[in-house]
């Protein structure tokens, strides 16, 4: 029996979602571009599903683009702005807490297109320091500001509302793109209210199938499509649309919305239980995630045992967690976000990430803590 604490990486798919998807794949599998009745019905199905999706995200139907995942959404947003036929400052502002889907794309844009990328550093709470961001915005005119909303390593939440206010004040024409991959099901998300221009999501983080993603794009934002072809989705993302998947995405999002409060309370309880268990077991630990991080993501440092070693032990006990930095002398293996927290003595190599969700139980937490204790007692050097 495996115990799964890596929900930030991906989620299990609930049986009702699988049943829903299976049925859709049988009954709703036509090409929505076809001219005969079945095709037209498929197209209507997509429209209905997209409308539902938009509604759960606080966006308009026209603002939703269906993609193959968050990495594609992020690529589309960033490259889309860069290649759009708009006047350019050739400068992009981001942070140093981003996911590789963002950082690698920015590196590409920098190298191949000669852009300057500014990275606003994180403070010790794992979020961008507003003062520093302000300085960047005052100093330069940018083509795009791209930021992660909920950090996947720490669970820290960037102050998006305040950042949007700053943008409105200082650079009202600057489009903002949000990597909201870890936001769904953890914090409420409303596209219109936030006042941002682009947002990327991935459904497999909330119990949908891998290979389904969303890019929200406000109507007045112009992007060059990443993927050219048959002109589907208003030419913004060519490729045969998948009525069964899109319907399932709507189903998953509506389910998430319905159960939002209940699931969050459950996870808050679990996190508290985890901490109390660690205390009770008198384990030497330090929570690296800031106080106001989402409860679902808990980065913990166990200073007595390397993360990789602990991972090996937990893995043998079929307890699945993730680690921040691999135990390696190679610089590239060290997690960039953790490095910025300036943990003493290479402690970033002692950090494991536990990500909780509605399916975890207190018993599982007890099992985890028990095994951590055994591991520390036996193998701590």
């Amino acid at each position: 029996m495996t115990v799964y604490f890596d929900h930030a990486a991906t989620n299990f798919i609930d049986q009702d979602v699988i049943d829903f998807l299976a049925k859709e794949l049988v009954n709703n599998n036509y090409n929505p571009a076809a001219r005969y009745t079945s095709g037209i019905e498929a197209a209507f199905s997509i429209e209905r599903s997209v409308s539902k999706i938009a509604s759960t995200l606080g966006a308009k139907t026209e603002e939703v683009i269906i993609t193959s995942g968050a990495t594609e959404s992020i690529n589309t947003a960033l490259k889309g702005i860069v290649f759009a036929p708009n006047p350019k400052h050739k400068r992009i502002l981001s942070s140093s807490g981003e996911h590789p889907a963002t950082t690698e794309t920015l590196k590409f844009i920098e190298k191949q297109l000669g852009y300057t990328i500014d990275y606003c550093p994180l403070n010790n709470q794992g979020v961008v320091e507003l003062n520093q961001l302000e300085e960047f915005l005052i100093a330069h005119d940018y083509d795009l500001l791209t930021l992660i909303q909920v950090n996947n390593v720490l669970g820290s939440v960037n102050p998006v509302e305040k950042i949007v206010k700053l943008r409105n004040q200082l650079r009202p024409n600057l489009p903002i793109h949000l990597d909201a991959v870890q936001s769904l099901a953890k914090i409420p998300f409303d596209f219109e209210n936030l006042g941002i221009q682009l947002a990327s999501f991935s459904l497999h983080k909330i119990g949908g199938p891998k290979g389904s993603g969303i890019l929200l794009k406000s109507e007045d934002t112009r992007i060059e499509p990443l993927i050219h072809g048959g002109g589907q989705q208003n030419n913004l993302r060519s490729g045969t649309e998948n009525p069964a998947f899109v319907a399932t995405m709507a189903y998953v999002l509506e389910k998430m919305q319905r159960d939002f409060s209940r699931n969050n309370s459950h996870v808050v309880e679990l996190k508290q239980h985890l901490i109390s268990q660690l205390e009770q077991a008198r384990i030497n630990y330090q929570i690296i995630s800031p106080q106001d991080a989402v409860p679902q993501i808990v980065s913990i440092c166990f200073p007595e045992l390397r993360a990789e070693t602990l991972l090996n032990i937990l893995n043998k006990e079929q307890i699945e967690v993730s680690i921040g930095s691999a135990c390696s002398s190679k610089k590239s293996e060290r997690n960039q976000v953790l490095k910025q927290l300036n943990l003493l003595n290479n402690l970033d190599q002692y950090v494991i990430r536990i990500s909780l969700d509605k399916n975890n139980t207190k018993t599982e937490i007890n099992n985890l803590v028990k095994n951590v204790k055994i591991a520390l007692d036996k193998y701590a050097v």
């Binding site: 390397r306 070693t309 602990l310 090996n312 893995n315 043998k316 390696s328 050097v381």
Partner: protein, 397 residues
């Protein structure tokens, strides 16, 4: 005239032809090893004649002779210098000419220009033409048939077409060089200390090429090193066994011993004491298996534990010779060889085999024997060795 020939592989023996009375034993072993290496392709007629070995289809087999597959596999067998795919047919002058025409047609079928030369060895003196006559006659024939493609080069021809006239006639041009060395099993057995690094697999390969049968030993420290490292070592052992034959891999559970060392040994002496413990266990295991030498991938000066003093300190705890074939190697040479024998890519996979947790920042690089004895004074060495030997998982690769 029917152009019928038999395909076979001709294997040339080198060093082992010098072994005098032992020659029979070496040749027999070489043939046995070849048979083993070719076992997945089927059974073949393999025999020795003078200073050559021949690989042929058995008379009862209908299948096509898998020339290329055989050549590929025997490349990994030690004990001969080169091999050639050969066409053999009856000793008849007219047949020879027809065979050569057909053979050469194949060589020039690509439409490109090639330089060539014939080289004939006439062992059967009754053959109507002598070597010189044959070479020129056949050369002229080729020039006539392929005027736009063929040119003669008597010094470094691209195609050196060889003809041997014996009881039968042998026709070939390709020579596939081998690693040479001695057939595995003719020099006894060795215990290889295998890690997941680049060096030890290469050391294993080198010693197997001198005819040593190998058994290997690997020290696993779970959970400080994960199971991926163990798998990496198994993969490396599997590759080495392609050259060295069936090889037992002894996986020693070293964790408890490591923790014991960590408790009693000063940190800067940890590396050297660890190595001494590993050597002791390997030595005792070799003793049990009646293996009289140990092999390591050590190279002088490469890491802290490989200074002369350190090597002396690790050498002194064993009771048999330690072969270090890479001792004077430049790292680049070792890497190149690792690439060639197909172990490099596996070795560089990022799973560390010696957890850096236990290695001091500043290990003592020139430990004297007294230093070692002092560092080990609180350890019950015979007990630790026994512990190591009692916790071995053996896999036959």
């Amino acid at each position: 005239m029917k152009i019928d020939y038999q395909e076979l592989i001709l294997v040339r023996l080198g060093e082992i032809t010098l072994k005098g009375l032992n020659r029979r034993r070496f040749e027999a072993r070489l043939i046995q090893n070849m048979r083993y290496r070719l076992r997945d392709l089927g059974k073949f007629k393999i025999y020795q004649d003078q200073s050559r070995v021949y690989i042929e289809k058995r008379p009862q087999d209908e299948i096509e002779f898998p020339t290329r597959e055989i050549l590929k596999r025997i490349k990994e067998v030690f004990g001969y210098t080169s091999a050639s795919p050969v066409r053999r047919f009856s000793n008849d002058k007219d047949l020879l000419y027809e065979q050569v025409k057909a053979y050469v047609a194949q060589l020039f079928s690509d439409g490109k220009r090639h330089t060539f030369k014939f080289e004939t060895r006439r062992v059967d003196k009754k053959f109507p033409l002598n070597s010189y006559e044959l070479n020129s006659d056949l050369g002229a024939l080729v020039l006539e048939r392929y005027p736009d493609q063929a040119t003669v080069d008597v010094h470094q021809p691209e195609l050196l077409i060889q003809i041997e006239i014996r009881k039968d006639i042998y026709l070939y041009h390709e020579i596939q060089p081998a690693y040479s060395g001695l057939p595995v099993g003719t020099s006894g057995k060795g215990m290889l200390l295998l890690s997941g690094g680049i060096d030890s697999p290469v050391a294993g390969f080198q010693m197997a090429s001198r005819g040593l049968l190998l058994e290997s030993i690997y020290f696993h420290t779970f959970p400080y090193t994960g199971d991926q490292v163990k798998q990496k070592v198994i993969d490396l052992a599997t590759r080495i066994s392609d050259f060295s034959g069936k090889m037992p891999l002894h996986i020693v559970d070293f964790t408890e011993i490591q923790l014991e060392l960590n408790e009693y040994v000063p940190p800067e002496m940890m590396t050297i004491v660890m190595r001494r413990m590993m050597m002791r266990i390997a030595d005792k295991l070799a003793d049990q298996k009646k293996i009289n030498c140990i092999i390591t991938g050590e190279s002088l000066g490469q890491v802290a534990s490989q200074t002369v003093d350190a090597l002396r300190a690790t050498n002194i705890v064993v009771n048999r010779p330690v072969f270090r074939p890479l001792i004077s190697n430049d790292k680049n040479d070792t890497i190149n060889l690792a690439r060639e024998i197909g172990t490099y890519e596996t070795s560089i996979l990022p799973y560390e085999d010696c957890c850096t947790v236990f290695v001091a920042k500043h290990p003592k690089i020139n430990p004297s024997l007294a230093d070692c004895e002092f560092a080990e004074q609180d350890l019950d060495i015979p007990d630790l060795v026994k512990q190591g030997l009692n916790n071995i998982e053996t896999i036959i690769i």
